[in-house]
Structure formats: structure tokens, C-alpha cells
Symmetry: D2
Subunit: 353 residues, 4 copies
């Protein structure tokens, strides 16, 4: 029998307890430690009935050979040092979004992991929901035809974060979903960002991103911490079908619509396009209800065991970071389009060279 | 008893029949003509049981002293000549949105009407729904506090118009609603517009407007002809309450939420704002179901009788036109902010001079 | 060219204006009169622009040879004399539900119409909605398999009727829909009715019907005048598919679910059934939005022209009446099951004799 | 400091794991054992990281003086022996619904607990949701006026239970909610039950209960295992307000409507009631999201510590059992009304004697 992968969770704050619970429930993983500078907090997270060890020292945890991997749920600003220490100790790393506080830091982590042959995985949780897995199949399998536009709305009364604006807090979800479902990942040429801070919080609480994808498709993301009602809707417009995902409609999250407008080519002289309208049926696929984070942990374990990149690898994290950085630059520049870095693995660069 | 106001409807196309029906049902109005170049079409609209006269000649209609007013439902490009002819013939005018094909043309109409002391009214239909009337009270009455942001979504599978893009087709609804509910009308300093034509229709089928209002408030409008599902949501964020209008929720269109985030002022040294969250009840006001166009006609009649400007007067039409023109310029310039004309009645200019 | 069918509408109350409007819009019909004892009310319904004649005398209207048919929208208690007079004058008859105040009276009308070869049609409006037409196809076409159960809820804050209880007021809608969609019409063996009058209105304001159909299927109807929210849901459970109709979900009224439980036959000795569960996709068929009453009028005209029974003929009206009478008897008897009359056309009785 | 209450969970099947999790998280409780005949199943429930002991012997568990209380999640048929053994061993008991397989058995448990001064509590989980707690306040606090009717719908594609029909499986939820919110508990005089087994499962899969409460109010419960869509709606009609609880509307579960019909008393001679209609606003109270079972455990601990009856005591369990037994009798008798036992504590009987 295979040895289970020993794992330590670092960070016992908001998200850490979820990692602890799911690490414990995932076959192939063996939770060794919950590590937090605040040892009491870590103890409270584990509760009175746990055999898992608590540690206040990252060094101690990384020194333990029974630890093969770490899952990091600390503030973004600490991702670089914590993850780098783990990689240098030879541990596989699962890290909360965003990968790091900036693109350059993120790239350091990716390169370190690649050079050591270690897994570096992003906890882009939504990507592991049954909904996004299905969306991915629909888009990549060609069932919706060519993607024509993307529109994502993620608004609710959310916590105004002390360190990041609403774009950095919420948009990683939308961007990582785009990244997962589009055939080549989310390849953005330019981004324009508008933001607003109507309550005087010191950072944007409402944000709008307009993304120009490399194939000319326009995507839009609306994130908002101030809305009294929760709206989580994504529309993936395709040439054959359009998918509407309404995450609050618990009995029918995903609807695949055979409805849309098509241009029928007229002769050259026509200046007016002839439009035809499809008004066909809607199909709501049966999807299981499954906790996404369970899938995250399973993929982390599988990618380590199978020595392959995980679905949400470091490069996906970099693509998201590159967009966020450009968005911040656009926001500062009053919404003008800012070019997004072209994120490509080294092999790709060598291959085309 | 007062004489009823004789009215002629010009244009028997998509919207004309609605004007005909509501003109007939409005006390104080007497429908004299339905006028259309296509006389047969006009006859079909009236049906086999009507005593209303049909005419193919605008001149004849305008020459009839029994006609006091005209309601114009012809293509936007014809609004200037048709409305100008009517005004010059001494008739009051109700005109479909937009007021005219451009700002300058619209201003001509406004000046002509003012100089002649005639009513010039825009058929901004949504303004006369029970919902917007209530919103107007909530906002102007101070119940929601200071407006902090506006967000409007108007998407569905709509007809791709042959002459205008989706911004000119749909956004006048959102802009005229903003104009009606904001205490000083919709005063926009700058507008940024992004658009997309993913089906190759020759004009934007998806549009996003970011409006910077004169008091710094940011408003956003998303219009879309290609969505398979209809979404019509407006959020009016206020410092005391936030209103969510979901027009498709027929049992509860308007919800007034006592939910939101407020910044509590800390001492000067604090760099972090202290945020408090309200999570109070939601109130859904009881609103009548009433046809908006009936209210349009009643207001038209009342403004003529009472010799006062209508709620949606020519200036409101001009404010909408000014924004649309700037939006088109921004769209052409790749989304950069474009300054919007300051629209003010002449008296105002004189008063401040 | 065929002569249009001359029609008179009798009754200018709540429903009459809808008949007037739709009769005027239906090809093949020519509206001759609106007849009401209250001539002023009739005039108001027609408005100031109509060429249709008003009459206060049913006799005069029936004496006019230009009148081929009458549509009756008077109180149920008057259906027998008004419809009988019309039939005896040789006119085709369209009558509001219920057909008459009781089964025996209804049967008189059916026999009179049959003996004279005249159309007698029920205005079971819902049957002519695109939704019920589609349901009818789904059920009769076998797509849902064998019908296993029916459940209908029709609740909202409704007018407490002065002459009938909630069962007689609302349940005819549900029963006529059952009648339209079931392959042999709604054949009920026994009915049990419970009712409640919590506000002291003098008649049941809340009612529950349990219907035992001739094939053993149980159907349930819940009607309620007192609910603050509107609920209009019908579930048609089938062995292959189950249809859920939510009439307030304007973007998706009908959902066809491939979800359900099936018993897999075990060997004889097993006392426990083995159940398997289907959890397949849901399909929402594209349905047009069309006014049902337009379809009622078109069917009335067609049945006259084609000399064939209409979809909702007198027998369907009798089947509904038979159930309502038994329901009233059950209500009076404290909810015990009461046998429902077997309603069959005379030819059928002769054929099996 | 007080000693924590030592607790053992008996039964590691469907519900047991939830009891284990919540017992561990409740201050004042100390989980000592998970007990199940299938020791391996119990171990799997606890997982690899738990310090909680597993036992296959109820006797051993009950013999341990560190165990003060047991929470029983075994099949209903075993509730009597398991709970009786626990009570006789001096342990407080929390038991899954229904209290026992029949009324007489349940009464034995209630008497045993009372004679020993031990807590006997029902896990009527829904009663501890924020929603039902709020409903209870609304009803008992008089805000909705006099209760006029109750209507509860609980339908979805559910597991066809091998040992009980849908009434015994699902209706305890509705009945225990009625019991919690009505000022004197759910006092039912008579019950009529209709059921249907359209798939041949060997027991009713669809059920309708009509309950005549002691104050004449009629309540209705619809439970259904076969519906493809989940519906969970309860209407509590009151003389001043009506509450609608839609449990699937996650953003607005509870709506308090100032809408309804009232009879205005006319003079004696009037045979027609004069009805007036209220059409006021709707209020959706802000409710926390909290796991109900946490509240169950907290109440169990508090009732033991404070030596007081819990909110859902044995008598509430008996009231539910009495209704279920009468419902089964009615079902067997074709739906006729069956009298429900009058359930009253002994003290009450002595007091009125």
C-alpha cells in the first residue's frame, strides 16, 4: 500500500479550518499539523477531540520528514516567504488565492517549484465545483460553439478587507473560473478597470473589469462588497448555446440555452446584416452537490502522486495575478486600457524560440 | 366643461398602437387621427371597429385645428422634422425616446417649444411605472440617505436594431430613470463606454457605461441584446438604505434593504477605516400594478392643461442625449472617459450669470 | 370569401371587456353587439371610439339575423336562461365557466345544443394557454409515460365571491386543465373536499380537493383566496418524466424533469421493494407568449365553421360540474368521499348498450 | 467551574454523524462515545483524527458513570428499548423523531423520564432554526393576530423509506413546527389523511393531512417523496399579518405580509358579508444563518443544567405521535376524520380534576 501524503495546514484563520476539515476527509492525505503563530487559535480550530498536532513554528513543521506537503492559508503578503520556505524544504504547496502579492513574487514561486519538481497548486476553489467542472466540459467540448462573450457578477454585502480592494478580493474567483473553462486559459491582452469607494473605506468597494481576450472576445466582471443582496451570475455566450449560471438558484444553477441571435451573411452590397434568432429549449443539466474544497484536496493529492501539474497550477495563478496587476494600473489611470503581461511557461517560450 | 385635447398619433409601427390605445383611454384626450405614410398599416392598427380617422399626410393632420397635440412614434432620425413641423403648427408634442438623433437637433426642438410656450414631453415610459414613481419618492424624500452608487442591468434577447447600437436602444431607459429619481436629474460629468459586437452585427450588441456623476457618485449601466435570459435589475445604493429593483420578480419588484457597510471615523492616526455593518430588515412596499403609458398620457394631458413642464420634459431628453453622444465618443475612443455636455435651461444660465 | 361569423357579447362586467377585445381581434368573427342590462356600463366598456352597437335587450340581439353566435359572461346563475334562449334562437354559444349553476341545468344546455347541431363551448381559458397546449401534447403524446399523480395549487389574495365558495370560483381552472391534458378527460370516481372559512365570510375561502381518478390515480387541488402571495403550481407526475408548471416563473414556466423514483421488481419473496432513482436533466421547452383568450375565440370560430365540437365542449363543462357538485356534497359531509357522476355523451351510452 | 455533561451518541447511520459533530462543538457537553453495533461504521464516522471512543455495546456505555446523557439516532422501532435502558441507567435522553414507534411506547418513555426527573428531549431539529424561532415569536407575541390557518408543503425527491410511509417520515417536521409556534402546542381534535403510492412502493409516497385544531383552525400538510423539485413552504395565516416561509429562497426565507381579507360586520339583516382587503407592505426580517442542530444540543445541555423541560420535551413528541397514529388510522379508513388523543401532562389532568 502507498504511504499517505503527510500534510500540514498553515494558518488557522478564516479559511484554515476548511482546509483542516477537508484534508482530514481526503483519502491519500494524512493531516500532521495545524500551524499558526497563534497556537491557541489553532487549538480552538482543532477542538477538544483531535489527535492532530498544533505548532507555532513553521520551521519545526517543515523540518518534520513526515510532512510532504503544506496547504497555506495565511494573508497574501506572506505567501512568498511561507511558500518559498516550504518549497525549499522540499514540500509540495497548495496556496490560497492570490498566489502572491504581485506577479514577480508569484513567478519566483513558480520557478522554484518547477526547478524542484514540486507541485505548486492554487486553491481556486470555485474551479472544483460541479458547476465549473461542467461548464469546462461544455466550453472545451465545443457544445456551446465559439465563446462570444463572458459576463460575471459577484455582489453581496461582504467584508471590506483591510489590505486589498474588492478587485483583488473577489475578482480572482471570476478570473480563475474563466481560466478553467476557456480552452487556453484566460489569455487577456488588455484590461480596463473602474472602481468606486462610496463609503470612504480607503479602497475600491465596487469594481468593474473589462477584459479584452486574445481572440478579441470581451469579458466583463462586476464585483461589489456593498450590495444588500447577493448576486452570483455568470453568462458564457457562445455561437451555438449560451450558458447562464445563477449560483443562488439552488434547484437549477446552470441553464444551457439554445437562444441567441446569429448574423446570416447577405450579399456584399448589403450594408445591413440579416439577423436570425434562435428561440429553442433550455436544458438544465443534473449536477451533483459536492463540496468544492474536497475536490481541491483530491486534486492536490492526485497531482503529487501522479507527478503531474494540477488543474489549477502555478501558471493559472500567474495569469490571474497578471490581470489583477494590470487592473490596478488601469484603476489608477482612470480606467484606460492597460496591457496585461503574456504569461507562458518556459518550455513554451523555448519551443517557439 | 373643458374641451378635451385633440391628439393625433404619428407612426403606426411598433409603439404607435400602444399610444393609440392609451390616448383613447385617457380622460381629457380625444384621439383625432392615426397618421402614417403607410395608410393601410394605420388602418390595421385601428381595426374594423374604430371611428378614429386615418391619414397619410402629416400636413393635413397639422392643418386641422381640432388637433391640439401630437404623439410621435416614428424612427429617431425623423423626430426633428416631424416634431418641428408640429411645434411650428402650434401643437404640443410627445415624442418617443430618444428626443432626436443628436444633441443639437434635440436642443432645436427644446428651444422651439420654449419660445412658443408649447409642451415638449419625452415618452420615457419607465418613469411612469409605479416602481419608478416610488423610487423617486424614496430617493428624493431622503429615505435612503445620500445616493452612493447606481447599478442598472437590462439584458435579454432583443431585436438587433438596424440603425442604432444597444446603447442608444436600451440605455435611454436606464438614463431616464436615473434622471427621474435623482434630486437634480442625471448630471453626468464624464462617461466611459465599452461595447462588443460578438456576432458581427455591425454595431455594439453588448454595452457597459460607467458614469461619473457631478457629485462624484459612480453609476454603471449594462445593456445587452444577446442574453438568453432577461435580467432587469437596478440597485440604488444609499447611505441609509439600499433599494433593489428586480423587475422580473412580479411578486416583489422593489426591496428596500437596511443593509450596508458604514465607515466609522477613527482618530487621525488610524490608517485603517473602522467599518460597521448594518444587517436590518427588508421592506417590500406595496405597489399598484398600472400601465406606465397610461401615466405618460395623463401627464401629457395635465402638463398641457396646467401649462407647466411635464415630469419628463425636453431638458430631461437633452440630458439623456448628451450622455449618449459622449458614450458613443468614448466607445469610438476605446473606452476612455469623455466629458458630457452640461445641460441647463437658459433661465438657469441667466440666473447664475 | 366566407362571411364572418356575427357575434354578440352578453355581459359587460369583469370578463366581458376581454371577450369584446378578443372577438374584435379574431379573424372570422365580426362583433355586432355588446349586450348588458346596464347599457351605460356597456357603453363605457366600448369607449368613445367604437362602432360596435350596444343593446340592453337580449331579445333584440337574438332576433337579429346578423348575430350567429353569442359569448356569455354573465353570473353563473343566469347561464341556463341566457344560453338556452340563445340556443333556441339558433345561435352558437360560448359560455364562461362554470357551464351552469348545477349539473342538471348544464345537461339541459348540452342536450339542446346537440339536438340543434349548434356549438356549445366553454371558455376554459387556461386550456388555451401555450403552457397547457404543450402539457397536453406531453401527456397525450406519451412523453411523460403514465400519469402517476396530479397536484395543483392556485392560491393568492382573491376576491371573496358573493355567490360561490372558493372551490366553485377557482377549482374549475384546475379541473378543466386536468380535463384537457388527460387522454380521456378528467374521469373522477370519487372526490373528498375539505374547506375552511377562517375569516367568517360565510363560505369556504380555502379548499382542498382529493380526486380519485378512474384509473386509480390520485389528484389534489388546493385553492385559497386568502394567501398574501400568489402561488400557481401544477405538478404532473409521470412514470417517465414529471412536469412542473410554475406560472409565476415567467422566464421558465414549464420544466420537464427526468427525475423520479421507480420500483424495480424483486423476486416474489421480497417484501421490500427495490427503488431506483432517476436524477437526469431538466428541459424547459421554448413556449410562445400568447393571450389565451385569443385562442378561445379562434377555436370558437373554427368549431362553428368546421361544424365540429370545440376542444372544450359542453361535455368538458359537464365533467367539471359533476366534480364540483360532488365536492360540495363532500364538503357538507365533513370530507367523506362522494361518488362523482359518470359523464358520457349519449352516443357512447348507446354504443355500449 | 461546572463539569461538562458527558454524552454518548448511539447510532452511526445517517443522522448520527451530525449529532457527533454538534455534540463536539457545544460548550458544556463532552462527547465520550459513539456507540453502534457496527463498530467499523462508527470508526469511519469519527475518522482518523478523533480521540472519541467507539463502542459496540450499549450496556458498556450506559455503565460508564462519565456518561450523563445519550443522544439516540437509531431506527424508530428501537427507540423504546434504547431510550428506556438509558433512562433506567439514569441518563438524560435526546431522541430522534419520532419519539417512538407508537403513542403507548412514547408515553412509557415520558412517564419513565418524569418519574426519574430526567430530561427527555426530542430532536425536532427544525424548531431550532432561526426561522422557526422567529415564527414562534411572531405567533406567540401576537404580531400576526389570531392564527386563521396553517399550510405546509414539504415535497422533493426523497428516499422511499423501507419501514415508514411518507407521513411518518416527513410530517413530524411540519407537526413539530406547528407545535413549537402555536401558543398551546399543536392541539388537534381530528385528522383526515389521504395518501397515494403511484409507484407501487408498498406504502404512501404522497400524503395530505387535514388537521382540525382545538380552536377550529384548519391546518393542512402536503408531503411528497416523488416530486422532482423541492418545495418547502409554510403559510401561517393570521388575522393581522400572514407569514410565508419559503425555505428555498435563501435570500428571503420569511416574509411577513400585511395583506389579507377581513370581514366587516354588517347589520343583522345582511346576508352578505362585507369584505375589506388589506394590501400593505411586506417585511422580511433579518435572520441569522445558524445550524439548527447546534441549537438542539445547546438546549439539551441547558435543560439538563437548569433542570427544566426542554423546548421540545417528551410531551411535544407525544403530541406529534398522537397525530401520526390518527393519520394512519384515517389513511386506512379512506380519509375519514379520526379523533386524535388528547395529550396532557399528568399534572394538568390533576389540576383540572
Amino acid at each position: 500500500m502507498d504511504q499517505p501524503i503527510g500534510i500540514a495546514v498553515v494558518g488557522a484563520g478564516y479559511w484554515g479550518p476548511n482546509l483542516v476539515r477537508n484534508a482530514q476527509a481526503t483519502p491519500g492525505l494524512k493531516l500532521r499539523y495545524l500551524c499558526d503563530l497563534d497556537v491557541e487559535r489553532a487549538r480552538r480550530v482543532l477542538g477538544d477531540y483531535s489527535t492532530v498536532r498544533v505548532s507555532g513554528s513553521l520551521d519545526d513543521v517543515l523540518a518534520d520528514p513526515a510532512v510532504d506537503a503544506v496547504a497555506i492559508a495565511t494573508p497574501a503578503a506572506t505567501h512568498l516567504p511561507v511558500a518559498m520556505a516550504a518549497l525549499r524544504a522540499g514540500k509540495h504547496v497548495l496556496v490560497e488565492k492570490p498566489l502572491a502579492a504581485g506577479y514577480t513574487e508569484g513567478l519566483e514561486l513558480v520557478r522554484e517549484a518547477e526547478s524542484r519538481g514540486l507541485t505548486l497548486m492554487l486553491d481556486h476553489t470555485f474551479v472544483y465545483t460541479p458547476t465549473v467542472r461542467h461548464l469546462r466540459e461544455l466550453v472545451r467540448g465545443g457544445e456551446i460553439g465559439t465563446v462570444q462573450y463572458l459576463d460575471s457578477v459577484r455582489v453581496n454585502l461582504g467584508l471590506v478587507q483591510p489590505d486589498v480592494d474588492v478587485l483583488w478580493d473577489l475578482a480572482p474567483h471570476d478570473l480563475s473560473i474563466f481560466d478553467a473553462i476557456l480552452p487556453d486559459g484566460v489569455r487577456v491582452v488588455r484590461v480596463s478597470a473602474h472602481g468606486s469607494d462610496p463609503i470612504g473605506a480607503g479602497r475600491a468597494c465596487i469594481g468593474h473589469l473589462t477584459l479584452e481576450l486574445s481572440d478579441g472576445v470581451l469579458a466583463h466582471v462586476h464585483v461589489n462588497w456593498l450590495s444588500p443582496t447577493k448576486i452570483r451570475t455568470m453568462i458564457v455566450g457562445g455561437s451555438r448555446r449560451t450558458v447562464v449560471w445563477d449560483d443562488l438558484n439552488v434547484v437549477q444553477r446552470v441553464s444551457v440555452h439554445d437562444r441567441g441571435a446569429d448574423v446570416i451573411e447577405g450579399d456584399e452590397a448589403r450594408t445591413q446584416a440579416i439577423i436570425s434568432y434562435r428561440r429553442g429549449d433550455t436544458v438544465a443539466p443534473a449536477l451533483p452537490e459536492r463540496e468544492a474544497l474536497r475536490g481541491v484536496m483530491a486534486e492536490f493529492a492526485a497531482s503529487i502522486t501522479e507527478k503531474r501539474p494540477p488543474l489549477t497550477d502555478g501558471w493559472s495563478g500567474l495569469r490571474v495575478l497578471a490581470i489583477l496587476e494590470a487592473a490596478s494600473a488601469s484603476l489608477a489611470a482612470g480606467g484606460e486600457f492597460v496591457t496585461v503581461r503574456d504569461v507562458r511557461p518556459a518550455e513554451w517560450e523555448e519551443a517557439v524560440a
